[in-house]
Symmetry: C2
Subunit: 333 residues, 2 copies
DNA sequence: GCTAAATTGTGAATCGTTTCAACATGAACG
DNA sequence: CGTTCATGTTGAAACGATTCACAATTTAGC
């Protein structure tokens, strides 16, 4: 059906080896032959078959990127950063979202392995250390993204989420709030537990401050709205004075919910801070305070680590970025 | 290096053909052999090589999905809808963003072709009809997404953008505004021109109404903010009374810009409506009116068309959804 | 004019899986 | 006992690009 190197070779009156050389090492072939072969390629509409190249080469020219949630702008930015950097290395990126589900995560990693990807960037919850070691042993480089490596042998690029959580907590305390609530979940997600730990530390340092945990089923706008309804449904006196949401999607959902019920004013009744500083945080009803992470840079750096990890033989690298507090109206009051 | 069927066959004392049968048609193999082979597979850590399967099969089990902008939640939703439906068919989806750049679009399509994807879903600007015909001729099914097919032979699933534009325009006129502005661009993007055409029709139907075109370099939050600054910088009397933004990202940027400059109140001074009805529209400073498109459904339907297009031999299908007006505070006044 | 060296080009082997015609083996039947 | 059938299993061919040792041709050097 499709045109192959063999067809091209025949039509151009050369051997398949020469066609391959024209494609991959044109300097090894006389100018006249290169031109002739290219003519035939254009005329016949020859398109290289990646599967065959890859089979021969042993690995693919694509990177597998697994993210927690494609709909979260933070991960979209991260993916774009990775894509851009990968393109500079002549690689492409295969993005898959796990939707926070461990089984989808496993399925994606299996798929990547079957595809013999160049390497994997894992920005999802998974704690399957043995699996990661196994992948490395099988020669597939892995970089953990947006999460600190639990194992020194696995390179990682992350932002210090505990520190970010502390930053958020300290900020809420600094504006005089004492009854703090952390809204987030499920606890299987590392980012959630780290950020919670950070705010716990901050709260523990102030004698009369308390921390409440409000669980959610996911890190989505919808779940935020639900949490808001639950909180607004309580007696005003038992509501928290400030909320730290595990990410901006939740935080925006919370604002939405509070506005809809009308019972809670932000920041007067409850101050609110999110995490990630996505574009939409600025445009919210009440512009949202947040903890910023350099999403695109994280993605780009992860690709660099992956490429470096295969080139040089130095030990695995661990890059850690510092989160940055961004104060807006939702915590100004 | 890696374990192959040959290794498995040898270790299990069977032929490679039998190993393949165990993997693909276990009912053809005796239960004892199936069990033995599976044991060996687990022990040796055998992982199928997709490249080899694909080379043999002639095509990949992955769908290529090209979108205009990965960071736009509308496309993220669309991608998720496609991914989910594809999974039901045992297919995976390779999502690539073109960032509105024709050359990146071409590169992505070339990549898909080299990968011998199962089919392509194109939700990007491209008007390269000959290329599409060529792909079809070469046996690669193509479905145009979120854009009406300019060629009956190419199946498509879309929302009537002209109608959506008219809906938005009529709504702005119905609340008494007469000096309307359309903010969007570049004009190379079909969605932009279609929506513009729709609002033009609506405006043309009302004698004293006028339409102004305010161009942007991209459909992003940042570009929306810039446009807002330009508009807010004019004399109040020469500003439009209502704005229809080509999508919600732009609209949210406009709101952000207007709030920052403080010179323009929404909707009192300028009413504002966007397009796509992304999740964040509800949570905006001023909840944003919008024109809703069933993003996930569009993605899922596109996959169905692709799968159907290869199965049955009926003519190419064209699915058209109707957009829906969603009125919120940004146009209530 | 002859040899050594450089330049071009060749073609068979290879990657790992699937397919399929052919072959055992054993059971069922008359 | 010989034939037919069903059930399991085999092994070689194919998919298409790349590689690499080798061959053919040209150029350079003396």
């Amino acid at each position: 059906m499709a045109v192959s190197v063999r067809d091209v070779a025949e039509a151009a009156g050369v051997s398949v080896g020469t066609v391959s050389n024209v494609l991959n090492r044109p300097e090894k072939v006389s100018a006249a032959t290169v031109a002739r072969v290219h003519d035939v390629i254009a005329r016949l509409g020859f398109v290289r078959n990646d599967a065959a190249r890859q089979l021969r080469a042993g690995r693919s020219r694509a990177i597998g990127l697994l993210v927690l949630d494609l709909r979260n702008p933070f991960f979209a930015d991260l993916a774009r950063g990775a894509e851009e950097r990968a393109a500079e290395h002549g690689l492409s990126v295969f993005v898959v979202g796990s939707d926070e589900k461990p089984e989808r995560e496993r399925a994606a990693i299996d798929l990547f392995e079957q595809q013999r990807v160049f390497g994997m960037l894992l920005a999802s919850a998974g704690d399957d250390l043995p699996r990661l070691r196994q992948l490395q042993q099988r020669g597939i480089p892995v970089v953990l993204v947006d999460r600190e490596s639990p194992d020194a042998a696995v390179p990682s690029v992350a932002v210090d989420d505990v520190d970010g959580g502390r930053l958020a907590g300290e900020h809420l305390l600094s504006i005089g709030r004492r009854r703090i609530a952390f809204v987030g979940g499920p606890a299987s997600i590392r980012q959630v537990t780290d950020r919670l730990e950070g705010v716990q530390q901050a709260v523990a340092a102030v004698p009369d401050a308390t921390l409440e945990f409000v669980g959610t089923a996911a890190l989505s706008v919808l779940e935020g709205r639900r949490a808001a309804e639950r909180i607004a449904g309580r007696l005003a006196s038992s509501r928290p004075q400030a909320i730290f949401a595990a990410n901006d999607l939740l935080a925006l959902g919370l604002i939405q919910g509070f506005v809809m019920t009308g019972a809670v004013r932000v920041p007067d009744d409850i101050a609110l801070i999110g995490y990630d500083d996505i574009d939409f945080a600025t445009a919210a009803v009440v512009p949202l305070s947040s903890v910023r992470q350099p999403a695109a840079l994280i993605g780009a750096t992860a690709v660099d680590l992956l490429v470096g990890a295969t080139d040089q033989t130095g030990g695995p690298a661990h890059v850690m970025f510092q989160p940055e507090l961004v104060v807006r109206a939702s915590t100004t009051g």
